[in-house]
């Protein structure tokens, strides 16, 4: 029996079945994105609060669009305008939001564990849209959807994650998710960004410091953004990173010919990834963005809609009514 999700706080505690269920639920919403009239009434009358305590453009727009296409209304709280700037506590801020009776709250926060903190104290479904250096579960789900679509299944691949893994919530969520499906995971980057302890996150995770070794036999490569704003360590010169770790066409040839290249965005072309790779046939970057909408619609449908709403259309009609 599938355990119904109350919140989506992270991937770590989800079962393989729960993950597959979400990916399956996203299927009709994927097709729906190709529809000329992109509006459902599924969540009409529902309100989704978007509480972005940390700046975000892509993820916020994706959630806002997902909510809109389901027919839900949104309330927006953004870091720059938030009362946090005036010294209000997180708890008071989210209680204020809750008092406006949203049916779900999507939270992004720079503190690891903030969504769990809120979920423990409020009676509203919480979706983690990225917390500190902890998790970014919807990113991992949309990555998994992308991989499954392109390669037919998740099981059995070799995944390589390149970059600042230590500070990456995207990497953590991907490691948790793909490891549950038996994916062998190789982490690679400057040694101080890929500490040995990362190997304890999940089964089948190893770290290597040489990119040639990391890319050998890879079926899927995730190039992480080099997150300069999150670094407290003594900084590494960009040229050093490029020299050793930039994903270039030459290096990509070390991977399997069928290898996919994913990037959570925003990309810094010429730093972690070469233009030719970013725009090449193996790149899935734009599919990831579209799949992000499908995943977020599926999640909002499931978490915010609850049992009371109509099921999503099994198949989207060819013509709009």
């Amino acid at each position: 029996m599938l355990q119904r999700l109350e919140h989506l706080l992270g991937i770590e505690d989800l079962t393989r079945e729960q993950i597959s269920f979400i990916l399956d639920q996203a299927k009709p919403f994927q097709e729906f994105q190709r529809h000329p009239l992109k509006k459902l009434a599924t969540l009409r009358g529902k309100t989704v609060a978007l509480a972005f305590f940390e700046n975000s453009t892509r993820t916020r727009i994706s959630f806002a669009t997902a909510a809109a296409r389901l027919g839900a209304d949104t309330m927006n709280l953004q870091a720059e305008s938030s009362s946090l700037k005036k010294g209000e506590s997180l708890l008071d801020t989210v209680r204020t939001l809750e008092a406006m009776r949203p049916d779900g709250i999507v939270i992004r926060h720079s503190s690891s564990g903030a969504p769990e903190f809120v979920a423990d104290r409020l009676g509203v479904p919480i979706v983690n849209a990225g917390d500190g250096t902890h998790e970014h579960p919807t990113q991992a789900l949309l990555d998994a959807l992308t991989i499954r679509d392109r390669k037919g299944q998740l099981e059995g691949w070799n995944l390589t994650i390149l970059g600042d893994v230590l500070h990456s919530r995207v990497a953590r969520s991907n490691i948790h998710l793909l490891s549950k499906f038996g994916v062998r995971i190789t982490l690679c980057g400057p040694a101080m960004w890929v500490p040995r302890e990362l190997e304890t996150l999940a089964p089948n995770v190893r770290r290597v410091t040489r990119i040639d070794e990391a890319l050998d036999q890879a079926d899927v490569i995730i190039a992480l953004r080099v997150q300069t704003e999150r670094l407290h360590e003594p900084a590494l010169a960009a040229e050093e990173y490029i020299l050793r770790y930039q994903l270039t066409p030459q290096r990509l040839r070390l991977a399997r010919a069928s290898a996919l290249v994913l990037h959570p965005g925003p990309m810094i072309r010429g730093l972690e990834i070469d233009d030719a790779v970013a725009d090449g046939p193996q790149s899935c970057v734009l599919e990831q963005v579209t799949n992000g909408l499908a995943i977020r619609m599926a999640l909002l449908y499931h978490l915010v809609g609850g049992a009371a709403v109509e099921p999503p259309p099994a198949k989207v009609p060819d013509k709009a009514q």
């Binding site: 770590e12 506590s89 997180l90 708890l91 926060h109 503190s111 690891s112 564990g113 903030a114 769990e116 903190f117 917390d131 500190g132 250096t133 902890h134 998790e135 230590l166 919530r169 953590r172 500490p195 302890e197 990362l198 304890t200 996150l201 407290h232």
Partner: protein, 434 residues
């Protein structure tokens, strides 16, 4: 603070455990006012109040070398009155309060005001610790001699380390001449670097910024080297790592006057217990499982001199925030004895006499004072049951704060009476089973 009078209190049939006099025998102890006047079997004193200590341990009064009473400046979190009432419930007859109040206790008038407040409102003895440097800023030496005259028992810039090796050397030299121990909170600020828990697999999993164990041991190594150089008294606060403990062991082998304390939370919990619950956030952070095991070895083999609580109250709103934004620290007076019994004594890792040593003669030695049950000695006594079953409810504490990871825990063993200068300042209500 109770005043001396001629009230008689006769403690009957307790197991008197006193490491100082190597006593472990069932005896009666008669207290007359602030002094112990008789010790022996079958004592009688017609006018005395009788305290039946059958099946209980009668120990010298417990000393806590490390606590934060928050007065002056943070009375929302604790006051001398509420903190010492909590200490009394924990069996402590004397507590040493760290100087990181607001303002910092770095001058004699502030020390005197703490001593005066304690005399007026304190339930147990309060022995202030003075700042090593002005404002604990790590620049100029504080008025240490004047503070000593006003009543400090040690110096420390607790909350942070004495900032530089050069300043530490000066503080040690200066305090050596004043016969004051220097207590250091060992931490390398550049390695600490905004961390919120111990670096390791758990910090990686939670995405919380890690503090490597070496942050503590590097600073402990510095301090031990300087203690050897200056031949002065050094006490390492809240030791949490095998590395720091090894430096203390090394110094002791050389015959140096170097000591250390361990908190109950560091020998009870480890980094694997950390959740997104700010009651698991303290500094030093909960250590690795291996480090915890090393601390327990040190507690058993004599390397560790004292168990200290690092009672660090923070009012609930300040702790009910995101993990990385919360202040460090937990309250600890009322769970210290029970955790020591449960984790160390009942598990066979240390003996009951060793426990008593860690709460009494151990800390006394660090301070350079005597602590014993002897005729003519101070009538500061802690009576506890090693077996009493109870459940800790932080909501019942006289402390103003509730920040503890041990709320709701069931324990075996508890303080039953805390006696300061012959007066019972805390007495546990026992369910009448006779």
């Amino acid at each position: 603070m109770p005043t001396t009078n001629d009230r008689l209190l006769l403690i009957k049939n307790g197991r008197v455990l006193d490491p100082a006099t190597k006593t472990d025998a069932t005896n009666d102890v008669l207290l007359e006012g602030a002094r112990i006047t008789r010790i022996g079997a079958n004592l009688s004193a017609p006018d005395a109040e009788v305290f039946d200590a059958t099946d209980m341990i009668v120990a010298p009064g417990f000393i806590d070398l490390h606590c934060h009473l928050r007065e002056p400046g943070q009375e929302m979190s604790e006051t001398i009155e509420t903190g010492t009432r909590s200490a009394a419930r924990g069996g402590f007859t004397a507590v040493c309060c760290m100087p990181n109040t607001q303002p910092v206790n770095d001058n004699a008038s502030l020390t005197r005001s703490i001593v005066d407040r304690a005399a007026a409102t304190g339930a147990v003895r309060v022995w202030p610790i003075g700042a090593a440097s002005v404002g604990s800023k790590g620049e100029a030496l504080a008025e240490i001699a004047a503070m000593k005259d006003a009543g400090i028992v040690a110096v420390s810039d607790d909350g942070k380390p004495v900032a530089t090796a050069r300043l530490m050397r000066q503080v040690m030299d200066y305090c050596n001449a004043l016969d004051l121990p220097v207590i250091d909170h060992c931490e390398d600020p550049s390695l600490f670097a905004g961390g919120v828990m111990r670096e390791g697999p758990r910090s990686i999993r939670l995405g919380l910024r890690g503090i490597p164990a070496e942050s503590e041991s590097i600073c402990a190594g510095r301090d031990v080297e300087l203690a050897i150089l200056t031949r002065s008294r050094l006490h390492i606060a809240h030791t949490s790592t095998a590395g720091a403990l090894e430096y203390v062991r090394h110094a002791k082998k050389l015959g140096m006057n170097v000591s250390c304390e361990v908190t109950p939370h560091h020998f009870t919990l480890c980094d694997e217990d950390v959740r997104y619950d700010t009651n698991y956030k303290m500094n030093p952070p909960l250590a690795s499982r291996a480090d915890r095991a090393a601390l327990i070895v040190g507690l058993a083999d004599g390397t560790v001199d004292a168990i200290a609580t690092d009672h660090a109250p923070h009012h609930p709103a300040s702790k009910d925030v995101e993990f990385d934004r919360a202040p460090f620290g937990i309250i600890g007076f009322e769970t210290a004895l029970a955790l020591t019994l449960g984790e160390l004594v009942h598990t066979g890792k240390i003996s009951l006499p060793r426990l008593v040593e860690l709460f009494t003669t151990g800390p006394a030695r660090v301070l350079g004072i005597e602590r014993k049950i002897a005729v003519g000695g101070a009538a500061d006594i802690t009576i506890f049951s090693p077996d009493l079953a109870w459940t800790y409810h932080a909501s019942e504490s006289p402390s103003k704060s509730r920040n503890t990871p041990f709320n709701g825990r069931t324990f075996r063993g508890a303080p039953v009476a805390t006696i300061v200068a012959g007066q019972i300042v805390y007495r546990r209500e026992l369910t009448a089973t006779a």
